[in-house]
């Protein structure tokens, strides 16, 4: 074997044992997906349509392994109790698999805070509105008979006696409180009475009393989510787009004839909702 053959033999050997595995390694490495931190936005009340959208996005995040963490970006006054609970329970499934971080933009009140409590970390802006923990409901009227309406029981038309409705609302409040304490634990620095007072705090105060963790932006929330998921160089996606949500929600709040949106829900029911204009008592 002459010198030239030896050279080629070496080159072939290096190509075979080094370059080829390296190329194969690169090919294999390229199959490793870039981690994704998904964002689920809620800029509305929580009700049937928005809750369904959120659940779709949550399920998408659960089902897709490249989504390593989720950020909930909230600007919501809350919504109906049942829809809030529905999202809350799906969120618990997600959190069991992937970190979830909340970024409060304008507001995470009542039901929106209920959901926020089911996340690993809560960021808020200094002047965001956070809290308003509790339940509101509209008591049914005292049962009367409408001669033109036949029903098959005394509460068929009214749903429940006023008194039992009131007590049920208080029971729902207990569920809310449990959710807050399970999510926040000893990070809460105020008494249960203060937590359940229904107060809404600005972000800085919310952090001081442990209702939220830190002042920060959505970017901070994304970084925190990545940190908790132990990923870096992630990319961010809006899960609403990925989940293919296109439907337009129906209105939840009453709109006056001139188009002004009032802070009152269209339907009577049970709500975890902040209604900012319930004030003005003289």
């Amino acid at each position: 074997m002459n010198q030239v053959d030896l050279k080629w033999a070496n080159i072939r050997r290096w190509l075979l044992w080094l370059v080829l595995p390296f190329v194969v390694g690169i090919l294999i490495a390229s199959a490793i997906p870039q981690p994704v931190v998904g964002i689920i936005r809620l800029d509305d009340a929580i009700y049937a349509y928005t809750a369904r959208d959120m659940i779709t996005q949550i399920n998408y995040a659960i089902d897709h392994p490249q989504i390593r963490a989720v950020v909930l970006a909230f600007d919501s006054p809350g919504g109906t109790v049942v829809d809030t609970e529905a999202v809350y329970m799906e969120l618990a499934r997600l959190r069991a698999k992937k970190p979830v971080v909340t970024a409060v933009n304008g507001m995470a009140a009542s039901g929106a805070y209920y959901l926020s409590a089911n996340s690993d970390y809560i960021y808020t802006k200094p002047s965001s509105l956070v809290g308003n923990i509790g339940v509101i409901g509209y008591l049914p009227p005292t049962p009367i008979i409408f001669e033109e309406v036949i029903s098959t029981g005394p509460y068929k038309l009214w749903g429940a006696p006023r008194d039992s409705d009131m007590r049920q609302i208080d029971m729902l409040k207990e569920g809310f409180y449990q959710a807050v304490m399970l999510g926040r634990g000893d990070r809460i620095k105020v008494s249960p009475e203060v937590v359940l007072s229904g107060r809404i705090w600005i972000g800085t105060e919310a952090v001081n009393i442990g209702i939220a963790d830190e002042l920060g932006t959505e970017t901070d929330a994304l970084n925190k989510a990545a940190e908790l998921a132990k990923v870096a160089n992630y990319k961010t996606v809006d899960l609403r787009e990925l989940a293919g949500i296109v439907n337009t929600p129906l209105p939840f709040f009453i709109q006056s004839p001139d188009g002004v949106k009032l802070p009152y829900p269209i339907e009577a029911g049970l709500y975890m909702l902040f209604i900012p204009q319930l004030s003005g008592q003289k």
């Binding site: 959190r95 399970l182 249960p192 992630y234």
Partner: protein, 489 residues
Amino acid sequence: MKKNMFWIALAALIIPVLARGFLYYRGVPNQPEIATPDYQALTVSQPPLETPNPAADKEEVKQINGIVLLDYAHTNQYQPAEVQSFSEAIEKRGGKVETITDATSLENKLKYASAYIVISPSGAFTADEIRFVQAFVERGGRLIVFADATRGVIFYDFSSGAPINYSDANAVNPLLSPFGITVNNDYLYNEEEHEGNFRNIFFDEFGKNELTFGLKRVALYGTHSVKSPSGLTLLRGAESTYSSIDDAHDPAQGAAALSEDENVLAFGDFTFLTSPYQNVADNATLISNIADFALGSKQTISLANFPYIFTQPTLQVYPSSEVQLTAETIGAISGLQTALSNLNTSIEVVDETPREGDALILGTFAPSDDLSNFTDPFNVEFDESGETITVKNFGDIGRAGNGLLLFDKNNKGNTLTLLADTTDDLISLLTTVTSNSLSGCVLQGDIGVCSVGYGGSFSTDIGEATAEPTSGEATPEPINIETTPTPTG
């Protein structure tokens, strides 16, 4: 050699994978166990209902009698049926509930009532009404005010749509302030321990009074705080009971207060009277105590209560020996009979001085033995000149044109003595007494002086010019006496 090459190949294969992996993934995230609320374990709270006591239901309550006036003339925010438990408690004690729908009758009705009940008014009380109620309480009548934080009138701001609550505290405070009681425009709440909702609170600290006798715990449902610095706070909340005004506990305030003279009672809530809350905790006992209080009035009957000054079903009318039963006299007495029949009182003319029972004595200023029993207690002195009489606190009073009323009450019966200079003046006095409520008379306690205006020249003959009334005479008005007299006191 080949072994080394194998390791090199393996490294070349793995390094890109590790590099990319490290680029993106820095470890294995912790997967905490996520707990959710135990929804199934949550229960709806139930009210602590008072244990029914069948023996107590059969127990006869003390019959107190009396009439309780229920105000419904100030745009009150309740339905009478809502306070049925209270009405039943009154009736169980032999009392009667009268609803006032016209405030103009208040003054008259307060003359015979045991208590005046005001529930959640939104209409203001006039200065006159407040004065009538004050006088009623000063006579020993009882005022019971129930405000309620849940019964304010809500208006909506036209431009913003914001609700504005006009609290009933605004209406009740002018009525209560003369008695040193204030109902605050707030509500009390307790987040630590409550009855189904934070604003439905228990009270288990009580001011010592018959009103709180037998109470261990009561529940109120949306109550204002009530304070009476000079009186007694009856229901005091626990330290965790806060006022919505300042989210603080004030031990000087409670949900009910009794005035210093113990005749005015104010509650910040009346929902506890309504179904189903009247049976929660000891609320039923409290309602019974309030009924006892309402009927336990010691209203002092004086001439100011006229015509509700008699307590017996029959009034004996005794014309003294100086009074002739002329046609005019009979006519005046028959007018009295008609008036009293509206009060369910009959009259009986007697020819001997009544020894017991209610009596109306008719006489003149001429001294007579049969009248002395009725005039002596009042130290009435008849001037021998025949020009004046001397009455304690009044001094000398001209006989001519004046009539004298003397009201004596004792355990044998109530006696009203009417005296005038002549029989004609007496008839005029009797007509005045019959036809109005002594508004034209000067009353001081149990003595009254009325101008009958005719100065001894009275004639029932309308055609005579001398019958023209002099100035100061109160023109007799149609009989306007409320039915159903109340024997109180």
